[in-house]
């Protein structure tokens, strides 16, 4: 299917031009900067590289960054699908308004979001004071980081699932009902499977965004070494110390891990496309 057709006549002209531009543009915007990052890393000798990427502070931040991002993306999948379902399936007052609110995390400067969330979740804040009597603190803990990541990742899942759900043929659900399937079975076996590719896309977008997030997290995180420091923060520290090669090394590791995870999700998607005959 995906055979290259450089010289074959086509009814969709312009392949050479558009493909050329795409390669050029991706190189300029994505590949060259990333390549530069890896080249910069090679300024380090192996020993110092090893010291950086096995340091306890680095490892703690790595675990926190990817762990919190995964959990936030998973949570967003559940809530995002639910919200998309409500927006698509029900007609209610102010539906369009709610629909518009979903996009706010996209539009808000992340530092503003971070400060707003922090002031809400500190022990004396509106929400924080509800939890502080039970000895639960949210701000300045990994939970706070997770909340910030949930906030910024929400629109991705909603916006990828929503159109697929809108296209979903209601007759298919009715068919399942006439065949005797209870509502829950219909949702699980008939409605959910076709949503999987969109959900995976939403998940990977929300995850990727969360891993790279800086602005909203640093305020609510408190940045306690080895406890609530995220990887992007470590990079900023190195930059402030003018240790550019060390910063590049951290970024390179981070990028490689992200790439592996996103590639895995993409492969799952290819498999599910083939499995569900969307190809």
């Amino acid at each position: 299917m995906a055979r290259f057709r450089f010289r074959q006549p086509s009814i969709v002209p312009g392949f050479g031009l558009t493909f050329g531009f795409t390669v050029f543009y991706l190189s300029l915007i994505v590949l060259i900067p990333i390549a530069g990052l890896f080249i910069k890393t090679f300024e380090l000798d192996w020993a110092s590289f090893q010291r950086i990427v096995t340091g306890p502070r680095f490892l703690a931040a790595l675990r926190l960054s990817f762990g919190a991002s995964l959990l936030a993306a998973l949570f967003n999948v559940v809530v995002g699908v639910l919200i998309a379902w409500v927006l698509v399936r029900y007609r209610f007052f102010a539906r369009k308004l709610l629909d518009a609110i979903i996009d706010l995390p996209f539009a808000l400067p992340t530092a503003v979001a971070g400060i707003a969330l922090t002031s809400l979740y500190v022990p004396s804040g509106w929400i924080g004071q509800l939890f502080s009597p039970y000895g639960i603190t949210i701000a300045y803990t990994p939970v706070g980081i997770w909340i910030a990541l949930v906030f910024i990742g929400l629109p991705f899942v909603v916006r990828t699932v929503q159109p697929v759900l809108e296209d979903f043929n209601r007759e298919v659900e009715e068919a399942a009902a006439t065949l005797g399937a209870p509502r829950r079975t219909t949702i699980l076996r008939v409605v959910a499977p076709p949503l999987i590719p969109a959900v995976l896309t939403g998940f990977s977008l929300a995850f990727a965004r969360a891993v790279g997030e800086y602005g909203s997290v640093i305020f609510i995180a408190g940045n306690i070494p080895r406890q609530t420091e995220i990887l992007p923060l470590l990079i900023v520290f190195r930059l402030e110390e003018r240790e550019y090669a060390a910063a590049a090394a951290i970024a390179a590791v981070m990028l490689s891990v992200s790439f592996l995870i996103l590639l895995t999700i993409n492969l799952i998607q290819v498999w599910s496309d083939r499995r569900f005959g969307n190809g």
Binding site: N169, V172, A175, A176, A177, T178, L179, G180, P182, G277
Partner: protein, 382 residues
């Protein structure tokens, strides 16, 4: 399973989609619900299935009041116009779905479900396609799978909503014949909705003609075609021509001339005469006949259709003659319908055009060639 529909009413936002509809369907019967869009035929089918709920009335499956039961409890087989297959499941999984979702106590083993799916695939003549996905099948094949899936649950009633509506004409005719065979082998009580009268008349034991939320007539193909009980049925089933006339002294009058048709059942006043364009005979003189000037002539398959302007009011009616007939535009023609029916009132307004044709045929463009040219066309055309 007999089906009894009693005084059913269904409103959507206060608008009655069905108004006091009653219908009895015998066990094993194949019934067509026929009508234009908006006539309520699909609503009635969905009410039987339980996909919509009644405003008032009752629907009985045998002696069992199904009206208050959910779709799942009714055990009906429903086939949708656009197949509504589960596209992430193979053909076999689609067919087995209804059995697989049963509660554990009544669920057959998965080997048994598989066996049944294969058996049904044989019945719908798709053997060997069990492991395909719906996207790999043609439209006709998908609809066969949809039918097999509906049959798998051994439904009490089989309901089909415009089952062939999305298919092209060839496949349609083929599936029609095939559905009849399946019905005769399995013996399910079957109700299908269609707006295609040919389909309804050819396939069904009885046809239910519906219009504006009500049943106009229930009868066999012969009954609804040969003795329509209302102007609507006359116009909707088959081709018909309508001519405004007057009923007076038990006779029908066209302007000031008696047509020689006595119709004692009609009250004096305006009336409309209906007849089939092909069911006429040409006459020479005109004692008790309809006469007029040919204004258009067109060849339709094996026949020639003439449009004739009748009387001083220049009403147009259509008649059908053998293709070889050479009545040219401008010539006078006299004919009388062999079978006809008159209904009180003016049904078609003052200029009854042959708009009763259910499917848009070729445009009513009169042939404009000079007379001689058409003669040649006729000679070489056959």
């Amino acid at each position: 399973m007999e089906l009894s529909i009693r005084n059913v009413r269904k409103e959507f936002d206060r608008f009655p989609a069905l108004d006091d509809v009653s219908l009895d369907i015998r066990s094993g019967e194949l019934i067509a619900l026929l009508g234009p869009s908006g006539s309520g035929k699909t609503t009635l089918l969905r009410l039987i299935a339980g996909l919509e709920f009644l405003t008032s009335g009752a629907i009985l499956f045998g002696d069992d009041d199904a009206s208050r039961k959910s779709v799942q409890e009714r055990n009906v087989g429903f086939v949708f116009q656009h197949y509504a297959l589960f596209r992430h499941m193979t053909v076999a999984d689609n067919i087995g779905f209804g059995l697989k979702v049963r509660p554990a106590a009544s669920r057959p083993s998965s080997a048994e479900i598989r066996r049944r799916a294969v058996e049904l695939l044989d019945l719908v003549q798709l053997s060997g396609l069990a492991n395909r996905y719906p996207s790999q099948l043609s439209g006709g094949q998908r609809q066969r799978v949809a039918l097999a899936r509906a049959l798998a649950i051994e439904p009490r009633v089989l309901l089909l909503d415009e089952p062939f509506g999305a298919l092209d004409a060839q496949v349609r005719r083929e599936l029609r014949r095939w559905l009849r065979e399946i019905h005769d082998t399995t013996g399910h009580t079957t109700v299908f909705v269609t707006h295609d009268q040919e389909e309804a008349l050819e396939l069904a034991d009885r046809v239910v003609v519906m219009s504006q939320g009500q049943i106009e007539q229930v009868g066999t193909a012969d009954e609804v075609y040969d003795s329509p009980v209302s102007p609507f049925v006359y116009g909707f089933i088959g081709d018909s021509s309508a001519l405004p006339v007057r009923a007076e002294y038990g006779q029908l009058w066209l302007a000031d001339r008696a047509l020689g048709f006595s119709e004692s059942a009609l009250a004096d006043g305006p009336a409309t005469l209906y007849f089939r364009p092909h069911d006429i005979e040409l006459t020479d003189g005109c004692g008790g006949c309809i006469a007029g000037v040919v204004v258009a002539s067109r060849r339709v398959a094996g026949t020639r259709r003439l449009e004739i302007e009748v009387g001083g009011d220049r009403h147009r009616v259509e008649i059908e003659l053998p293709a070889g007939h050479t009545a040219g535009i401008g010539s006078r023609v006299a004919f009388r319908p062999k079978r006809w029916k008159a209904f009180a009132g003016r049904q078609e307004g003052d200029t009854p055009a042959p708009q009763t044709e259910p499917e848009p045929g070729p445009a009513l463009e009169p042939l404009r060639q000079p007379f001689g040219a058409r003669e040649i066309m006729l000679a070489t055309g056959t």
